[in-house]
Amino acid sequence: MLQIVFDALTLGSLYALGALGIALIFGVMRLVNFAHGDVIAFCVFALLWPSVDAVAIVFAGNLPWYLLIPFVVLVGAGLSVLCEIVVFRRFRDASPATMMIASFALGFVIRYFLLMLFTSRPKSISLLPALSQPVEIFGARLPLLQLITIVTTLLVLAGLTIFLRRTRFGLEMRAAAENFAMARMLGVRANRVIMLAFALSGALAGAIALIFGSQTGTADIQMGAAIMLMAFIATVIGGLGSLGGAVLAGFLLGAASVVMQVVLPVDARPFRDAFVYGAVILVLLFRPQGLLVARGTKERV
């Protein structure tokens, strides 16, 4: 039982962090960033030396953990800011659909850049191997990693909340998310706020890369995509632009997946995803604006 709770929380943490990365950017510039998943993959591959061999040549991955973590987070933030400066800055006035396709094309470019350097074969890596040892809590044996994932997510969420509520940058970001034009007129520098949002989102991508990489022990070019789909859905169910909603929906989706895996009869288990997506449609039918409605995204007439 406890095992199920922890499984749900671990999966939910990943979805929540991913959803947060999308919601942050959507909040300030109404962009659904499909390149986010590829930024995650890039962060993992940043630890390896380019090679076409099946065995990964670990490069930065050999750093001690107190250097490794900042390195990956900085790579994520750096790549994300680079994307904004090189690509998204040109799309400020474009329609959401155009921006979405542009972000998809950008993700495509990142993915095939990785493919060129590393080939499409998944590589096994051992990232922070000390974390896979089991620990015993309340009579359940859990990998230490699960605990750390959950704790890290909570810490990141708490840190982000303090940042957004207590600092000047945070205030500017929240103002921009609520009414971008008005915030600009009141002296918020648009480009700085957007760059900050991209940096934060990229740092979150780095965090996901670390957690997911050490969980699965493989580096795969497709790895970002699986999380991103769920994170993307979580962002919408949570209420687009609402950060709290994104986190809540991320955890709910994680819980739904894990619980269905346990509850469904054996015959129906392969169809678990179909049930999860069916539930998503149901939620949308009853709450089309999402669970928590963000201020400023309501349709105005």
Binding site: V32, V87, R90, F91, D93, A94, S95, P96, A97, T98, M100, I101, A102, F104, A105, L106, F108, V109, R111, Y112, F113, L115, M116, A225, L229, F232, I233, V236, I237, L240, P270, F271, R272, D273, A274, Y277, G278, V280, I281, L284, L285, P288, Q289, G290, E299, V301
Partner: protein, 362 residues
């Protein structure tokens, strides 16, 4: 013609609505050039391909025609309603598998897909009948899903359509006895001549045009541009969206059936995110709100992909061959798409259509 004369005599009476009748025919007359010119383009491509007579090139052009059908299907819903849909490839998947069920040799079907109902196991139709039935099946399924989905709008609708795609994919990847799960379904008769694909693409273009100038299509576009005003004028937005969704679902199903016949193999993952984004990109690069944009987007991007592949294989220049490294093809494609969109955010065609004459009014 007789219709027009009766309207004329009645126009003097108090029947004001009847006076507007001729304008509908003149709308058809004014816009018929768009599908005609687009069809001409498609026919020209087919004839050139036929004259070249190279097998691989023939297959490439068949792929182009299939994608034209798919993108035109997307246009019918996305272009006219303004709602982004990530789920239409689900109907392509339904169409492709329906075509497989109807055309595979019964003896083979009994072994590979034993879960099919008895009557379906015994049927074997010629490919064109199967394609029509597959298209109808996809259209009906779109109608059923659309009944639920069309109550949503904006990004919630987009995500819900995506959930449909993921749902269909999850079902078709796991329903071993009916869809063969993730392994490929083989034995679908392969059609190698180019003409059926060309005819289907032309038919799709004309269906899209007929829908766009129909009462329902006009109402839907009005609702896209001014939702509040349209609703206040009595446009039932969910209903008009549903019509477009079903029509586009049927076109997507037709595309799926033909796609199955062009390669002879179907797997669920062919009809997932990759194809979704390829077709959506073609529509957006061409211009989301324009039928011509969709068709031209497909033709241009396909030509670009082909040219890059050709460069990747190596081009002899003098004594040496010039080849770009593997993987650069996709990167170049992505960069070119970003550049096109940055320069023309509404796509190459914007909201305009190709016609022979400039419109008199704006």
């Amino acid at each position: 013609m007789s219709n027009a004369t009766t309207v004329d005599t009645h126009a003097l009476d108090s029947d004001k609505i009847a006076v507007r009748q001729p304008s509908r025919f003149s709308l058809a007359g004014r816009t018929i050039w768009t599908p005609l010119l687009l069809s001409l383009l498609l026919v020209a491509i087919a004839v050139i391909t036929f004259m070249i007579g190279s097998r691989p090139f023939n297959q490439t052009v068949i792929d182009v025609f299939v994608r034209v059908i798919l993108v035109v299907g997307l246009y019918v819903f996305i272009g006219n309603s303004g709602v982004m849909s990530f789920g239409h490839i689900a109907f392509t998947c339904l169409g492709a598998y329906a075509a497989a069920w109807l055309t595979i040799n019964p003896a083979m079907k009994k072994i590979s897909l034993p879960g099919l109902p008895e009557w379906l196991l015994a049927t074997k139709l010629p490919y064109w009948q199967a394609a029509v039935l597959a298209s109808l099946f996809a259209g009906v399924m779109a109608l059923i899903f659309g009944r639920v989905l069309m109550r949503l709008s904006g990004i919630a609708a987009s995500i819900a359509t995506f959930a449909v795609l993921a749902m269909i994919n999850a079902i078709y990847s796991n329903w071993e006895s009916v869809t063969g799960a993730t392994s490929s379904v083989v034995g679908i008769p392969i059609v190698r001549t180019i003409w059926p694909y060309m005819i289907a693409a032309v038919v799709a273009v004309f269906i899209a045009w007929a829908h766009a100038i129909s009462r329902s299509g006009l109402a839907l576009r009005a609702a896209r541009d001014e939702p509040t005003a349209a609703a206040a004028s009595g446009v039932d937005i969910p209903r008009e969206r549903l019509v477009a969704f079903a029509v586009s679902g049927a076109i997507m199903g037709l595309g799926g059936a033909l796609m199955a016949h062009s390669v002879g193999v179907v797997t669920p993952d062919t009809f997932y995110l990759g194809l979704t984004f390829t077709t959506l990109s073609m529509l957006v690069v061409g211009g989301m709100g324009s039928l011509s944009g969709g068709v031209i987007g497909v033709v241009l991007l396909s030509a670009l992909i082909q040219a890059l592949r050709w460069l990747e294989a190596g081009v002899p220049i003098g004594d040496s061959t010039f080849a770009i490294p593997k993987g650069l093809q996709e990167i170049a494609l992505g960069i070119i798409m970003i550049v096109i969109l940055a320069l023309r955010p509404t796509g190459l065609m914007g909201n305009r259509e190709v016609t022979l004459f400039r419109k008199k009014t704006k």
